[in-house]
């Protein structure tokens, strides 16, 4: 029996444009390319003396972070400000009441403030979907990271980084290294790379940190770092959370570094012009050696800059998709 509420393109409007940005799953190559192209154009704005464009003038963007974040929250704030939007940021504690009640009640309150767009980060997988389904349909929802599920703007800024440094995706080998199991960044990256036509996507980690059925993303699985890095063009390192040491996933940070830490010697097995990426914040000496993080292959700080442009692109596209949808609905009523 097929569920009546089976997957539907929640994040697209009737014309197939973005109206929310929840996950990269189900988005076309054309749409992802449009995000990258738009972000490219906004990079120029960031380079100008006056860094503002008026695309979201008069609109209110609300950053609602149920989970701590510095980088993502700040770059979303900057992105919204550069688009001339009014920006509110709320750090909502999850400890006070049950998460669900807090979330639903918070949403209702924000709706009442007539915000046009929510950027949401939440520790539960599926939180952004839940919000998009329950908030008033005129509000655009941007997923700033939900549990282990998705971090689509990080995924797109990683794609922008790869495209700007490697020119495209068609002939690339990309390795994602470390804690794939708990990583929403890895999930978004695997989907984006596949959609954009990357022919060789590899994930590298011990079995305790690889999700069951990771092959469904069209990736090759390696448990040996040196084999997995051989001749790759791009290395994406993931952050290893300290709490993984409890519960038997790993014996120690030291042993993880010994097996999966990216050192200069190991990077030598990749292509000579390989780039090294990391969503941050980095753990020096746990997943990456300082010499690599600060070295010539590293594009880790470029990622942060591109992050603002990608978030500007996503915010402006989702807002225009919402506006188009409302016009379309008004016209069809008339």
């Amino acid at each position: 029996m097929t569920p009546i509420d089976a997957k539907r393109p929640l994040q697209l409007n009737d014309q197939g444009q973005l109206r929310h940005f929840l996950s990269l799953d189900g988005l076309s190559r054309e749409l992802l390319t449009e995000v990258l192209d738009t972000a490219d154009s906004f990079l120029e704005v960031g380079a100008r003396a006056v860094k503002k464009v008026p695309l979201l003038r008069g609109k209110t963007v609300c950053n609602v972070f149920f989970e701590n974040s510095t980088r993502t929250r700040t770059t979303f704030e900057l992105a919204a400000q550069r688009l001339s939007a009014d920006v509110i940021t709320l750090n909502v504690s999850t400890s006070s009441t049950s998460k669900g009640e807090t979330l639903f009640d918070t949403l209702r309150n924000l709706e009442a403030m007539a915000a046009d767009m929510f950027v949401v980060r939440h520790a539960d997988s599926g939180a952004a979907h839940f919000i998009a389904e329950h908030v008033s349909p005129e509000v655009a929802i941007i997923n700033g990271g939900d549990g282990r599920h998705a971090h689509p703007t990080q995924g797109m800024l990683d794609m922008l980084t790869i495209r700007r440094h490697k020119g495209g995706f068609e002939n690339l080998s990309v390795a994602i290294v470390g804690d794939i199991l708990h990583s929403r960044v890895a999930r978004s990256n695997m989907i984006a790379l596949k959609t954009l036509g990357c022919p060789d996507i590899r994930v590298i980690g011990p079995k305790t940190l690889l999700p069951i059925g990771v092959e469904q993303y069209g990736v090759k699985v390696f448990t040996d770092l040196e084999q997995g890095l051989k001749d790759v063009d791009v290395v994406i390192m993931l952050r290893l959370q300290r709490e993984r040491m409890t519960g038997g996933l790993l014996p120690s940070e030291g042993e993880f570094y010994r097996l999966y830490g990216l050192t200069t010697a190991r990077l030598a097995g990749a292509k000579p012009d390989a780039i090294v990426m990391h969503p941050g914040p980095i753990n020096r000496g746990v997943e990456i050696e300082s010499a690599v993080a600060d070295g010539p292959h590293s594009v880790i700080l470029n990622q942060v800059t591109y992050g603002i442009a990608v978030r500007m692109a996503v915010l402006s596209m989702a807002m225009s998709g919402q506006t188009a949808q409302r016009q379309f609905e008004q016209e069809s009523v008339q």
Binding site: A6, K99, F130
Partner: protein
């Protein structure tokens, strides 16, 4: 009062009866099947031509939510919903507030159920105090108050020795113990079947071994203690294989599955709908096939609704923050008829899994049509369909089948010869 049901296709899986016939009922009991006794005059005639008359359904797990959670459901509302699903006897699990670990709670439930009068209610008592798995509940006091079996729900015992003693104590008095075999550690924090769907959605997984490891342990302890055991809510193909092996070596264990496990798989979670959040979780398509085969073979004797009604707020949150459970007892018969529609079971076999099988597993005086037995019946029309949710009696609207067109429609449910539901 007396009643004659005329011209129904009367199916009684226990006796192999399946023919067009009449049923005659007096003072709540079946007095004849076929010709009326010479001295019998019906005060009421019910024309049942075109309908199937079968033993009223026996549902081994219907959460009534009372006492303690009446915002989710009440004994009156949920037994009424059960009657609409064709149910005449049901067992309610001990997870109430307070927990059903004292005879006072059992008596309260039985009183209110009698007052409501929609279905016969058989409480399942807590095996341990507070379901905490540490100290035994007063099993004999609970038995004498009306508890027909004992279980600890999904709360496992903290230590194997305590569990072992609980089983030996229950065995002393020939009590039935109901197991929900799920290993606490292997399932800790889990939200969904540990497979590709959960991986894709980023939901923490509950591996198959959470069930099989606990089940293997429980079967060995059952064998050692000699306790009368029933395994409830099995979800995996490997799990029912373990039951089959135990039965093959002569262990008299019975088992049930949740009806929704025979219909849905973990793929339903795509889209994060909290309606599909259940514990133990929806499993893979291969598991569903294994369960269906076990139901067909009779390794699993009972299909239960595992009805868990919820208030709206309980499901109004991101998937992981919602409460697990599906409200579906009032669709029990039409939803189960999809198994006949799919060609898995013939109608008498399905009715056996919904009546005789569960009644025998719990030694309930139900599940068969015979002269002298209580007139607990369901009359349904196989030829029409039910649109799920057109009428809804349960307080819990947390049902993923709402809006679906299901085969068959319950026309009358009778408890002790009284009509408890008319559709």
């Amino acid at each position: 009062m007396s009643l004659s049901i005329i011209g129904a296709r009367v199916i009684d899986p226990a006796s192999g009866l399946d023919r067009i016939s009449d049923l005659h009922i007096s003072q709540g009991r079946i007095v004849a099947i076929g010709d009326a006794p010479a001295d019998f005059t019906a005060s009421q005639l019910l024309d049942a031509s075109g309908l199937v008359a079968a033993p009223g359904l026996v549902d081994l797990s219907v959460s009534l939510r009372e006492p303690g959670y009446s915002r989710k459901g009440t004994i009156a509302s949920e037994t009424r919903a059960a009657a609409a699903g064709g149910v005449t006897s049901l067992c309610c699990p001990p997870l109430t507030k307070p927990i059903l670990d004292t005879s006072a709670v059992a008596e309260l439930i039985l009183d209110r159920a009698r007052e409501a009068g929609h279905a016969k209610v058989f409480p399942i008592g807590a095996l341990s105090k507070g379901l905490e798995g540490e100290q035994l509940a007063e099993l004999i006091a609970l038995r004498d108050a009306g508890c027909i079996a004992f279980g600890n729900g999904l709360n496992s015992f903290g230590n194997h020795r305590t569990l072992c003693r609980a089983l030996e104590y229950a065995a002393t008095f020939d009590l039935t113990v109901i197991f929900h075999s799920q290993d606490r550690d292997l399932s800790a924090g889990g939200l969904a079947h540990d497979g590709p769907t959960a991986s894709f959605l980023g939901l923490a997984g509950i591996p198959e071994t959470a069930e099989t490891v606990a089940l293997a342990r429980d079967l060995l302890l059952v064998e050692q203690s000699g306790v009368r055991a029933h395994f409830s809510q099995l979800t995996t193909a490997r799990g029912v294989e373990l039951i089959e092996q135990a039965q093959a070596r002569g262990l008299p264990v019975t088992a049930d599955v949740a009806l929704y496990q025979l219909i849905l798989t973990d793929e339903a979670l795509t889209g994060f709908s909290s309606l599909y959040h259940v514990q133990p979780p929806l499993r893979s398509a291969a598991d569903r096939e294994g369960l269906r085969a076990a139901v067909k073979k009779g390794v699993v004797q009972a299909i239960a609704s595992h009805h868990q009604p919820h208030d709206r707020d309980a499901k109004l949150a991101p998937f992981g923050a919602t409460e697990p459970g599906i409200s579906s007892v009032e669709l029990l018969l039409p939803l189960a008829l999809t198994l006949v529609q799919d060609g898995l079971l013939d109608l008498p076999t399905l009715l056996a899994r919904l009546g005789q099988g569960p009644a025998e597993a719990m030694r309930l005086p139900a599940g068969r049509l015979q002269v002298g037995a209580a007139a607990d019946l369901v009359l349904f029309d196989e030829g029409v369909s039910t649109v799920a949710g057109e009428r809804w009696l349960s307080k819990g609207a947390n049902c993923p089948f709402l809006g679906h067109t299901l085969p068959g429609a319950v026309r009358y449910t009778l408890v002790d010869g009284h009509i408890s539901f008319t559709g």
